[in-house]
Amino acid sequence: MTTRRDFVATTALAAGALALGRPRDAAAHTRLLPHVQPRMDAPTRDLLMLALDTAKRGGASYADVRIQRVQRSAVATRERQVLDVIDSDTIGCGIRALVDGCWGFAATPRLTNEGIQRAASEAVATAKANRIARDRPVELAPNPSHPDATWSSGFTIDPFTISVEEKTSLAIAANVAALSVPGVRFVNTSLQFVKEERNYANSEGSVIAQTLVRTYTPMSITAVSADRSEFAVRDAVVQPTGRGWESVLENNLPVNAKKWAEEAAEKLTAKSVEPGRYDLILHPSNLGLTLHESVAHPTELDRAYGYEANYAGTSFVAPPDKVLGTLKFGSPMMNIYGDRSQPGGCASIGYDDDGVKPEQFDIIKDGVVVDYQTTREQAMWLDWWYKKRGMPTRSHGCSYADSWSSVQFQRMPNVSIKPGAKDLGWNDLIAATDRGIAIQGRGSYSIDQQRFNGQFGGALFHEVRGGKIVGQLKDVAYQFRTTDFWAALDMLGGQKSYELYATFSDGKGQPGQANAVTHGCVPTRHKQINVINTGRKA
């Protein structure tokens, strides 16, 4: 990419014509061309270099700069009508300067030489002002430079080439299919797409251009009882993804909507759960969020050191020198890894916002905590641990800023559970369970600021008796102490049952930033977990 003006003058006009007017069949061939990230154009590179040069001349020992463009497109529908067709485009520059061991950051939408110089000077001035409050100077872990790197996420159909008509007609077709089920009265479907063009350079010689897309098509179906005394919602039916329009086609909303609508209608008369202890069989679409909150958040290194104490919270996986290599997080069959290079992941990237090329790393091995999610600044804090293990002290590539206007910090990579050795699937876990509840889809979720006590709902609950599903339940939430819940893991699915769960906006930081992230999961079974009934009358 480039400045928006150049972009529009060249590629976007063609893409725009395609998106807005070209008939479906004619468009199909063009949009299937593999997406190749072009090398960074000269004007963008010049602005990046100007920012770095200005920061260095101002006294920065290290600086990095991002010029990013983020385009968003959404259509929102309810029942047989369109609510909104929304398109947004933002472009700007964020500059981070390290002066005398202190960070300063400034961001501007003004992509002129003067605008960039001003912002770079402001970043340096802010860093200098911060010196009076410095305790320890910031140090960065070593990282090779990537002088002319490009990367693109693995989408095959760019959603920004799909016409408004195609998007709205698909959503409304899905709504109409859902409304054909008796009792179903309301349906909301929206199609949301994000495209990011990220241009990065740092004072160590990295110059990186990347493009990625993300796709999410949430659908929510509401059934209302004939006497209007009850309503029930079936949602969480599809996952966000780091892929393109091809994933929307695969989800086939107009065909699947009817099944989801039947589930909503059936929920109206579902049995309210009897509180007690149950064996839980969690589908990847439900486990993903539980793993996200109870495993992925407490293994963020900044949380472990108290950097999120005033907002997102700290972590029970702390202090690192007391827990690394010793804390039993869960059952020996629990293996958790981070990986921003995972294809299709919402947090996947070629190079992070420190210029680090990410790779897969273990976080929990055989149930024991062995590492944390890190950036270049944070990897230095674990220098002693990596030396002890004979590993290089390097970042795991978890630096991320959600916009040109946000400063990068440690954000969650795709954090996933490794499949079990046996070739088991969802139905095998149900068949092996005498008295339990099988849960699909995300529901209510809440966990304390150190991640000890979690309570999670779901979108769809089935009672399991004698290895069989006997009917739907409602008002179910499971509540646990994190390490007990993971110690109670006694069965997990094999590679064939591995699916990608994802969330589109995970919040952290002050000012708040949103991160999209994927969790690869298999179905799991957890023995004798506390289940409460969330339905109340008074």
């Binding site: 807005l20 909104d84 398109d87 933002t90 309503f231 108290g306 910090f409 809440s446 304390d448 006590n453």
Partner: protein
Amino acid sequence: MSIILDPRAPRSLFADEDVVISRADAQRVIESVVKLSKADAVQCVIRSSRTRNVRFAANQLSTAGVVEDTTLVVMSYIGKKHSAVTTNDLSPESVERTVRKAEAIARLSPDDPEMLPLLGPQTLREASAAWDEETATLAAGIVTAAANTALAPARRPGSTLNVAGFLVTGADAIAIGNSAGHFAYHRGTNANYTLTVRTADGTGSGWSGEDAVAWKSLNFAAVSAQAIDKANSSRNPVAIEPGRYTVILEPQAVGDLVGLMPRYLNARSADEGRSPFAKAGGGNKLGETIVGSMVNLTSDPFDPMVLTQPFDGEGMPLTKQSWITNGVLSTMLIPRAWAVRRNLTPTGNPNNIMLGGGSTTREQMIASTQRGVLVTRLWYLRETDPRTMSYTGLTRDGTFLIENGKITKSIKNMRFNESPLFLLNNVEALGPVRRTASEGPGTQIMPLLKAKDFNFTSLSDAV
């Protein structure tokens, strides 16, 4: 920002005399859009902001920055079709491109049978006291120095405190205008300071915060003193059996739960049978007693404690609304589209929420409590049942047991499963109100509140 339509002389971004877009510049941009538009109608929203923040944790500064941006949304209306296109490039070429794109997308969109005509000229009252010039232009050094009021004592030799805090000051402007002759503009400033103090042994944590229009209104010493006191007094918490307890909720905790109520006040959801205020058999519960008789819930953009934007996202002027009056559901939120369909008067979408207070002091509330729990704030609230507005969440950063009229010990945090409706049904006393310090603009006024039978369901080891 006066350069936005003048390509000749880009002025410096950070030294602009207008920190955010001025009324005149906003008007000029909107007029240019109306002139360029070939649609049946067009509406614009301009949002402009500049914020400065300093963040610290683990007894040292972590990040600090200054950010500014201005965005333009162009909404084009053609027949019953419409679209919205946003850009943050306000150059003349970009503005024209955005208008053309909005029109092209609108043309391809299906008809919206509920599409409303744009609002015409409105009588708007200004809220000029929402702007403080000093806050809008604060220098980096001043904010860092304020952070030092917490960092310095924590770093003193012998200190056993670990501090983490966030200071943010900002200026925002919004303008809404359209081809039907409506124009609304508002600008405001905000200063917010929140602080969490933890004890070095990891057993105590205290939180405090303030939020105001003006930087000079923030009392840094008071925030630090309160968070430090809570951290020290919450050390070594003991477990109590979860169950139904009388609670005294500090205003922040009240806001964390009661602040969730406005989203349920929508008349349409109730009339459609999918809201806690839906009536079996049809209709809604307007006019029915829904909570205790001492409860009054209102919104008012001109209340001096929470001056907020005096119009909503559509540009509808906002006035004082009484949602709950002496326990009775007295007004429901009526969106324009629903007003047209049901022949009602639209209320606009409020920007603040206020729960009325009472005359009971904190000391009186504690003294009158045989056994109860004092709560500083709540955390991670998520809906568990939309039918009853039920939520789960946890206490955080200072939870204490009251026995025989006195605070006796620090207790472990607990998870609750509770509805603001049930809480307000069980109110026993209301105390002084304050503006809460939730991150972002201060949009809540909440009282100290005592209620019976608050439903704590499990213990948490989190500090």
